[in-house]
């Protein structure tokens, strides 16, 4: 019997399908969303970076422009002092004033590392620098690009330089114009070297160290102009990774961005923007993980949802399975009980209004029908067993009957064989017996004719021979009578009269007292008189023989149950011992010194042929009664066919 918590396969199937149905969309949608989000994030991130790059590119340009303007302003203010002086004192004074002016500028703007005042001849008139001695050597700018470009185009912006091999610097130059003349007259060129560390500082503020985002300004030759990490700048070969510079510097567009894979396998999201006029590129990068930092959160949230859904699904499916399988389990329990043949105590089943309810209903009908059928079967089985027992009894009875019949047949066959032999022997003996008889007669007659002195002993012996011949002939007759097979020739006769005829001619010795006790109804029988006479004679003869000292012989007739006639021959002899009693009707059984043992066998044979029965009642010392039961003749004459055997038995009293 399954415990209540045990769930069958159905529950697991429910679980499986519920999970599949609920989880598959979540997984697909969730991960699609994540994927879409990734792209969105990536784009967003790239866009942000690009904006930052563009912004910083502007800032860089502004930075450079600012200092260019400062330089221009300074050049404009220089005009008064830059006017040609005739006097060297004036010039000296002017230079001194100019020098103070440049100093003031350098003090005001820390980014200026050097400022030089160059006249039209390319000679350096003033040189102010932060790390210069009191009187630095003056240089000639005549062949310098800054000098020439500034004069030709009105301004000069140089390329990245390394001040003292470390600080990224930029050379700027503007012409010094005399605004008092029309058109303004060029007086010289003001050159300046500005430190670009400020850019790094600004980048650093925008993209602080320790954050994953990095930003840099790269010159067209690949060297770093500025970097959000200032330490990077001060390296001798301050460059970005080659993969990055390869991408960034070969772009034709102003700005852009994308995914970059480094040689060490790292993935970056990078964006760039060109700085106007300078050919520099602002580059902003971010590790892809940082761009996607929202993704793990989304993933974990999705997983959480999954876990929740799984938990809820399991509970739900178990509940549903339980709900669905509960009646099915009940049905199964009921079916188990049915299969064990228990029709009582079928578990209660709710007949809900659905298929399972229908099933339960059908099941109940089925169990009811099964109970009826089983009842019928059991009944039929009992009937069958009863019938089988009856049949067995009948078979046993028939077997016994057959056995008896077989025994009877064997006996009959044996008797027939004996009879045949007896007949042949008897017949063959009769001829010699006849010859002996004839010869004895001849001798006796001859001797009697000769008369005179015959030895009396001869006469006696001749008598003995004659007597023995008679005896032998009697035996032969008895045997032949017993073995003779002739058809029965019954006639209808009254039994009292029939017996009276026999008694009338029977040679009773004088010491026997014959008593008749006839039924006054004088039963009518349908019998063969010759055979029945022989049988009665044998009984009378035996009775006489067992009473050699005299006695009473009683002949009785009776009617029994209106169907049977009984002829009894009662003697007052010594009775029959029990061991002899059971064999007295057997052929050739005799207790006499001389006798064929066929007398009672003939009686039984004759009575059997008349569908009758013979038995004997005996009491030692008092005598025996032989009783012959014969069926009464039917009113129409003839022996009633199949008349039941009378209840007769041998008794020793």
């Amino acid at each position: 019997m399954p415990s209540p918590v045990h769930r069958g396969k159905l529950a697991y199937k429910f679980l499986f399908w519920f999970l599949l149905i609920s989880l598959a969309p979540i997984v697909v949608v969730g991960f699609n969303l994540i994927s879409i989000s990734r792209d969105a994030l990536k784009n967003q991130s790239l866009h942000n970076q690009e904006s930052a790059a563009v912004g910083f590119a502007n800032m860089t340009w502004n930075y450079i422009t600012t200092y260019k303007n400062i330089l221009s302003d300074a050049a404009r203010q220089s005009e008064s002092i830059a006017a040609p002086r005739e006097k060297s004192d004036d010039l000296r004074a002017a230079l001194a004033r100019e020098a103070q002016f440049l100093d003031r500028i350098m003090q005001t703007h820390a980014a200026f590392l050097e400022l030089s005042w160059v006249d039209l001849g390319g000679r350096e008139l003033l040189r102010k620098g932060r790390f210069l001695g009191p009187s630095p050597p003056m240089r000639s700018f005549l062949n310098e690009a800054s000098f020439q470009v500034a004069l030709q185009r009105g301004e000069y912006v140089g390329t990245l330089e390394r001040f003292q091999g470390l600080y990224p610097t930029l050379a700027l130059a503007v012409p010094i114009l005399d605004s008092r003349t029309r058109p303004p007259k060029t007086l010289g060129v003001l050159t300046g070297k500005i430190s670009l560390n400020g850019l790094s500082t600004m980048l650093n503020q925008e993209f602080p160290e320790g954050r994953l985002r990095e930003a840099a300004v790269v010159s067209s030759d690949g060297f770093l102009v500025a970097h959000s990490n200032p330490h990077v700048i001060f390296r001798p070969e301050a460059k970005l990774a080659k993969e990055i510079t390869d991408v960034v510097l070969t772009q034709t567009s102003d700005k852009g961005g994308g995914e970059i894979r480094l040689s060490d396998g790292k993935k970056l999201l990078g964006a760039f923007a060109g700085v106007k006029d300078l050919g520099w590129v602002v580059y902003v990068q971010e590790p892809i993980e940082s761009a996607y930092e929202a993704v793990p959160e989304m993933t974990s949230k999705t997983l959480w949802v999954l876990v929740w859904v799984i938990a809820v699904t399991i509970l739900l499916s178990l509940a549903v399975a339980g709900h669905i399988t509960q009646p099915i389990r009940l049905l199964r329990q009921a079916a188990d009980r049915l299969s064990q043949g228990q029709f009582e105590d079928i578990p209660e089943m709710a007949t809900t209004n659905d298929e399972i309810g229908d099933l339960a209903q059908t099941f109940l009908q089925m169990s009811e029908s099964l109970r009826e059928k089983t009842g019928e079967l059991i009944h039929a089985k009992e009937e069958l067993e009863k019938f089988t027992r009856h049949l067995e009894r009948r078979v046993d009875a028939r077997t016994r009957e057959l056995k008896a019949a077989q025994d009877e047949l064997i006996k009959k066959e044996r008797l027939a064989a004996i009879g045949q032999m007896a007949s042949v022997v008897g017949h063959e003996i009769r001829n010699p017996l006849a010859v002996i008889n004839n010869s004895t007669y001849f001798i006796k007659t001859k001797l009697a004719a000769d008369s005179a002195g015959i030895d009396p002993k001869i006469t006696k012996h001749i008598s003995i021979i004659e007597s023995e011949i008679k005896q032998a002939n009697g035996i032969i007759n008895e045997i032949l009578t017993f073995s003779r097979e002739r058809p029965l020739k019954p006639v209808v006769l009254a039994v009292n009269n029939f017996l009276e005829e026999i008694l009338a001619i029977h040679p009773f010795p004088s010491h026997i007292q014959v008593v008749r006790e006839f039924d006054p109804r004088n039963p009518v029988l349908h019998i063969d008189p010759d055979e029945m006479r022989q049988a009665v004679r044998n009984l009378i003869g035996n009775a006489v023989e067992v009473m050699p000292q005299g006695g009473a012989l009683k002949i009785m007739t009776e009617v029994l149950e209106g169907r049977w006639a009984r002829i009894s021959v009662k003697d007052s002899g010594p009775g029959i011992p029990a061991d002899v009693l059971e064999r007295i009707f057997a052929p050739f059984f005799t207790t006499k010194a001389r006798g064929t043992g066929l007398g009672l066998a003939v009686v039984r044979k004759v009575v059997d042929r008349h569908q009758g029965k013979v038995d004997v009642e005996t009491e030692i010392g008092k005598g025996s009664t032989f009783k012959i039961y014969l069926p009464l003749s039917a009113p129409g004459g003839g022996v009633e066919a199949g008349a039941a055997q009378p209840q007769a038995e041998s008794k020793v009293l």
Partner: protein
């Protein structure tokens, strides 16, 4: 009264002789035959008053002889002998064929003599 002529037909020589000689002591003149053919032959030649015949003979049956002889003579005493009991049908048949008496062996010769004489007297009246 002259001695009656008697023919005994039986295949058993001892029986024939013992019977013939015993009956001769009683005053019959006896002839014998061992077969049916010889019996019929002697019956024709000797014309016996009495014929005793066994039912079973090697060449024929007593019934046949009886029938033949009865056709030849109405007076002749015909006695049949048998070593076995005859059924009622056989007896009836024998009497219908003309037999006067039926004997089952062995039989008492004194009684037989008396019976023969009775039958001779009876048949002579036919």
């Amino acid at each position: 009264m002259s001695a009656s002529k008697l023919l005994i037909i039986d295949d058993d020589a001892h029986l024939r002789e013992s019977l013939a000689e015993s009956l001769e002591l009683d005053g019959f003149r006896c002839h014998q035959a061992g077969t049916a053919r010889e019996g019929l032959d002697k019956a024709h030649r000797l014309t016996p008053e009495v014929v005793l015949m066994d039912i079973q003979l090697p060449d024929s049956s007593g019934f046949q002889i009886c029938s033949t002889l009865r056709k030849a003579s109405r007076e002749m005493v015909l006695i049949m002998m048998s070593g076995r009991f005859l059924s009622a049908e056989e007896k009836t048949q024998g009497f219908e064929l003309g037999a006067d008496e039926y004997l089952t062996k062995p039989f008492d010769i004194a009684e037989l003599s008396v019976r023969i004489r009775q039958l001779l007297t009876r048949n002579a009246a036919r």
